[in-house]
Amino acid sequence: MATETTTRAKLRWGLLDVIVVVFALIPVLWIASLSFKTPATLTDGKFVPREWTLHNYRTIFETDQFVRALVNSIGIALIATAIAVVLGAMAAYAIARLDFPGKRLLVGVSLLIAMFPQVSLVSPLFEIERQLGLFDTWPGLILPYITFALPLAIYTLSAFFKQIPWDLEKAAKMDGATQGQAFRRVIAPLAAPGLFTTAILVFIFCWNDFLFAITLTSTEQARTVPVALSFFTGESQFEDPTGAICAAAVVITIPIILFVLFFQRRIVSGLTSGAVKG
């Protein structure tokens, strides 16, 4: 498709590529570098550590504070992702395939929720969850996560579902399958890549959240890593929390980097189909 694949054009694009890569990676490399520095060299301001150590990683895994938060983060994000993808898949199937009144309303409402100011929910949810005993529990965080992940799931999945060939569903129904069976036996396996992509996006969203996690938790019982990180400072048992914070930050960055490395194409198609093609 390129008409002028000259060396100069390639060089120019290559230079731009390098700028983008550096722009994207610098903060990540910097925090990784800090996490490997020894306490003595932590404040030398050098981008590359002069002495390397795993001390910070040992420290965080020896403390309950971080391990508990990591378990909370993984558990809450996985459960919320599973529920959001299942509910989202049901709704997206209906939107993509069925004709029923109220469809546009649902699409409209989920768009509104995608743009909803989450901070507006902080005060009422704080009070409601306190009364219901959900405050500082896993379900107390899972519920808002599902809610804000659902629009993303519905958009992405309905875009994927629309790409699945109609004929297969017809064929299944001709062979005597009901709508429900057609969904479970034919469409769901075909939609698996879409489901998987959606799951990654939803997981990233839940993994990332800070606002709900900091307002709806108060102890290690449900505190997730992003929040625990900001509590390492000051009241913690570490002498200088900087190294520990950086090590913990690197640990929770690893899954994201792996997702991005292995599923780059899918994440891009999921994000763009969900947001633009509607």
Partner: protein, 320 residues
């Protein structure tokens, strides 16, 4: 579609009548009804969760915002009408926070649009290393905001950071203007890739032959960009702007890590959080929640007016 299915289904049935159950032979309207019911049934759980966690709390927060309700003095709880609104709207902290939020929103979204467009063009048209660029660009999107915020914070902390040493004029995170600049920088770093991805989806819609035709007719690169690409991309640009504007207005994580709202760098989200969790003042916190909700609703309304028919979802049915 399902009508076709039904008729074709019954057509086949005539040939092999004994094998099929009665369901698919039922009249069309039955089928239609079943489809509706299934549609509602499948959407109900998602709709219920979304409404329960957003609509009900918003109504509840309107109710809370009309009360004097401080968790430190629970016996003083009483209905005070609009008093909380008067308190907040005449408070200079609120307006400072509002100004800060508006400033961050406008500056970051404007810069992100320009940078995002550049990044989208690179990701879409680069001749070499397309996969690498796209992968790298996704990293800021995926990284936990708090992690990135700590990285930037340590970079700007005197002694620890490489950036602070580079511009050695004291501690930038202890002064208002430089703190705000750093907050905006971190926001831009984090969200430009998302903007770029949305714009790239728009770029993909630009027909390649149209660009070729324009370039054969002697259009310069700039002319091709403004006269051919931009008009086609307009819906994508508006979607990207809407999403990012509303998202930028919610800025919280970065401010929390950088300054926790010190030196008058609070955003409205930060201020609401401080009133609620630090101050335990549910009445005032809820009032701010409602005000933020109204502001966002106004922004969304203005954008939807601009969108016209191009709003996502409205064109959902005719797309395929």
């Amino acid at each position: 579609m399902s009508e076709q299915t039904a008729t074709r289904g019954t057509g086949r049935h005539a040939a092999i009548p004994t094998q099929r159950s009665g369901r698919s032979r039922a009249p069309l309207s039955e089928n239609k009804k079943a489809e509706r019911r299934l549609g509602w049934l499948l959407c109900a759980p998602a709709a219920l969760v979304m409404l329960a966690v957003t609509a009900y709390p918003i109504i509840y927060s309107v109710w809370l915002s009309l009360q004097r309700f401080d968790l430190r003095f629970p016996d003083q709880r009483e209905f005070v009408g609009l008093e909380n609104y008067v308190t907040v709207l005449t408070n200079q902290f609120w307006w400072t926070a509002f100004g800060v939020t508006a400033l961050i929103t406008v500056v970051t979204v404007a810069v992100e649009l320009v940078l995002g467009m550049g990044l989208a063009l690179i990701m879409h048209r680069t001749l070499v290393g397309r996969g690498i660029v796209r992968t790298a660009a996704l990293i800021p999107y995926g990284i936990v905001t708090v992690v990135a915020a700590f990285s930037w914070r340590y970079a700007w902390t005197p002694g620890t950071g490489y950036l602070a040493n580079l511009f050695s004029d004291g501690a930038p995170l202890t002064e208002r203007a430089s703190s705000l600049a750093i907050i905006m920088l971190a926001e831009i770093w984090k969200t430009t890739p998302f903007m770029a991805l949305l714009l790239m989806a728009g770029l993909a819609l630009v027909p390649e032959d149209l660009l070729k035709a324009a370039s054969t007719d002697g259009a310069t690169a700039w002319q091709r960009f403004t006269k051919v690409m931009l008009p086609v991309m307009k819906p994508a640009i508006l979607v990207a702007l809407l999403f990012r504007t509303l998202d930028a207005f919610r800025v919280f994580d970065n401010i929390f890590v950088f300054t926790a709202g010190g030196n008058e760098t609070s955003s409205v989200s930060m201020l609401a959080y401080n009133n609620l969790i630090r101050g335990l003042n549910l009445g005032i916190g809820s009032t701010m929640s409602v005000l933020i909700f109204i502001t966002v609703a106004i922004i969304a309304f203005v954008f939807v007016k601009l969108f016209g028919t191009a709003a996502p979802g409205s064109s959902d049915d005719e797309r395929r």
